[in-house]
């Protein structure tokens, strides 16, 4: 992905800032908060991987996907298949291939398996739909979500169907999730500054002009789609090993809504937006959730009615769309420190003065 090695430091600045910022939040929460906070924090970090993964495709290609949560489901089931107790699997999930049924694999193997499976499905599905663009593409991704949900909810011998997959080893805590979140952020930053990312962004801003400049849009979109599915699948694997129990309904419309909201509220067009969206929405929903559980105001015990959390989320989403259509960050990245910006400008100026004798214009 490193096309221009001299610029590596510049490209690493953004992910470093985001990861350090996130690290501070994780550190503060684990030091100051109790078990409940640690659980919420882990869930937030996993969702962050989902949203950053989603962003890798949506942010670069400009095609809104409602189907990525299906990849999360695929990753989650893959991890469950790999890590569950073989005795249980040979009793309940009789349709699994023997290599999965009779063995129990370690955490990292399960994660890699989940990533690869999600990416493979994305490759096949992407080959089919990615020549569509705009609304037709978005709707196909939605149809894909329904297809995968229908399969996971009914394929009793492989997914447990309407009963759930239980007793998945729960090994994921906040710091594990943080490490993977950092990897996801780094990968997303490298993708968007690579030539693939830049060409995709050109096609997002003006599809016709990009095509006319010789950019093979379908292929690039496919690459971004598969990569993004890989990370969403990774998040699914972590989620399975965080929850310990899986049902098909987890990976459906509600979670899709939450992920899309996080991305849109933060700003679809920037990685900073994806990260900020997750953190802000989590902070808001956690506050509302605490409100639903009840709080004391002086001697008064108050509780917000059930559903406040979701309605609050919907209202915030609508308000952000109306008042800040490109998200809280305005779809801009964290600015470089002013010194570096000046140095960068100087480099550009020097480069511009060099005579260019060769090369097409």
């Amino acid at each position: 992905m490193f096309d221009n090695p001299s610029n590596v430091l510049g490209r690493l600045y953004l992910p470093c800032v985001l990861v350090v910022g996130l690290g501070v939040i994780v550190l503060l929460c684990t030091l100051l908060g109790g078990d409940q906070i640690a659980v919420s924090l882990t869930e937030m970090l996993i969702r962050l991987i989902v949203v950053v993964g989603l962003y890798m495709f949506v942010g670069n290609s400009g095609i809104l996907s409602f189907g990525h949560i299906a990849f999360m489901g695929i990753g989650a089931y893959a991890a469950a298949w790999a890590t569950c107790d073989p005795d249980w699997k040979s009793m309940m999930l009789t349709g699994l291939p023997l290599i999965l049924q009779e063995h129990q694999y370690p955490f990292l193997v399960a994660v890699v398996f989940a990533c690869l499976l999600a990416a493979a499905v994305a490759l096949v599905f992407g080959l089919i739909i990615l020549r569509l663009s705009g609304i037709a593409a978005s709707i196909s991704t939605f149809a894909f979500l329904v297809v995968i949900n229908s399969i996971t909810a009914n394929w009793d011998t492989v997914t447990g169907g309407t009963s759930s997959v239980v007793n998945i080893p729960t090994v994921v805590g906040p710091w594990t999730a943080f490490v993977f979140a950092a990897i996801a952020i780094l990968a997303a930053a490298l993708l968007q500054t690579s030539s693939i990312g830049l060409m995709l962004r050109a096609s997002r801003d003006d599809e016709v002009a990009a095509k006319a400049s010789g950019i093979g849009i379908t292929q690039l979109r496919l690459i971004a789609f598969v990569l993004s599915a890989l990370f969403v699948g990774l998040a699914g694997a972590l989620y399975a090993q965080f929850l310990g129990i899986l049902t098909a309904d987890i990976f459906y419309i509600t979670l899709t809504f939450v992920a899309v909201t996080m991305l849109v509220v933060g700003g679809v067009g920037s990685l900073t937006g994806a990260v900020v969206g997750v953190v802000v929405i989590t902070a808001v929903t956690e506050t509302l959730r605490a409100g639903e559980a009840g709080f004391h105001l002086g001697s008064l015990a108050l509780a917000l009615p059930r559903g406040t959390q979701e309605i609050g989320l919907g209202v915030i989403m609508a308000l952000v769309l109306i008042f800040r259509p490109s998200g809280l960050t305005g779809s801009r990245e964290v600015p470089l420190p002013s010194g570096a910006r000046r140095a960068g400008a100087a480099v550009l100026a020097v480069n511009a003065e060099k005579p260019r004798s060769v090369g097409p214009r």
């Binding site: 089919i128 020549r131 705009g134 297809v147 229908s150 399969i151 979701e310 769309l321 259509p325």
Partner: protein, 304 residues
């Protein structure tokens, strides 16, 4: 053969519901380029409007107990008002927004309505008895069918004729078609944008209310996601038919109805529970083969 005809009748009845819902979605898409995810929640809302708002487990009929002459308009008015309020609060400020922005906003609206219902009426499904006389069987030649199926088909045909008359023959209908064809041009020629869009929301809400009444008398249960599956299929119907084309929405609705019923009837029993996966998979294939639907609209072709 008789079995096939029986299935076809079921398909027509189901297709009618999808077609009505698809018309509501297609109308808004044609004019606003809004893919309205909240249409299913308008349908749910119409059904819940029949009972007394409370979180009690047993539903008490309120409007649902009235005679149908009063009941139908009351429910229609309620849903239309909600549709108009949604337009005013959410979609009017977003008039210049892109299609994905509008789609996301409707997603938010859907979430708000669904959880609003959850908050007021509680999470438990409720049984409700509306027009139970309609489930009596009638005999047509060799076929038996509940009266309700015939009512559904009849109402659908009637509403389609009315809508066609409205769109082709009345002043506002013509303005609406002009707006769907080329919104900017229509505005330059003096079409009041907000009025036409409001009208489209009202008709869409009215259609949703009709669907909810027909649907609830079929199923007899209220849940806060009851409208979702219909809207999902209807939504797909508009896409398959050709987004923005109203004829397309109707054709798509019936096509999806036929696909679903026939898959249910003729898939091998082991695969029957995967019906939706097959239906939506088929839909993806239709889209890939014809990205602008079976009946594409001219105004929608993207220009440079």
């Amino acid at each position: 053969m008789i079995g096939f005809l029986q299935n076809l009748l079921d398909a027509l009845s189901l297709g009618s519901l999808y077609a009505l819902a698809a018309l509501g979605i297609g109308l808004l898409f044609g004019i606003l380029r809004l893919v309205n995810f909240a249409h299913g929640d308008f349908i749910t809302l119409g059904a819940y409007a029949l009972i007394v708002p409370s979180s009690a487990d047993i539903a008490t009929l309120l409007i649902g107990g009235w005679t149908w002459v009063a009941l139908v308009p009351a429910v229609v008015v309620i849903v239309v008002v909600v549709a108009l309020v949604s337009d005013a609060l959410i979609f009017r400020p977003l008039r210049t927004g892109s299609a994905p922005t509008l789609m996301t906003a409707s997603f938010a609206l859907s979430f708000i309505i669904q959880n609003g219902i959850l908050m007021i009426y509680g999470a438990r499904p409720k049984a409700i008895n509306l027009w139970s006389g309609l489930s009596d069987q009638v005999q047509i030649g060799p076929l038996t069918t509940p009266k309700l199926d015939l009512v559904v088909i009849g109402v659908t045909i009637l509403l389609m004729l009315l809508l066609t008359f409205f769109l082709k023959r009345t002043r506002y209908g013509i303005q609406m078609r002009a707006a769907a064809e080329n919104f900017r041009m229509a505005r330059h020629l003096g079409v009041d944008a907000n009025f036409v869009i409001g009208l489209a929301f009202a008709i869409s809400g009215g259609l949703a209310a009709t669907v909810s009444l027909l649907f609830v008398s079929q199923t007899g249960t209220l849940t806060q996601t009851m409208g979702q599956p219909i809207a999902l299929f209807a939504f797909i119907a508009t896409v398959v038919g050709g987004m923005g084309s109203l004829v397309g929405a109707v054709v798509g609705g019936f096509a999806v109805g036929i696909i679903v019923v026939m898959l249910q009837a003729y898939l091998p029993p082991d695969l029957r529970s995967f019906r939706d996966a097959f239906a939506f998979g088929l839909i993806i294939l239709v889209l890939v083969a014809r990205p602008s639907g079976l009946i594409p609209t001219r105004g929608l072709a993207e220009r440079v």
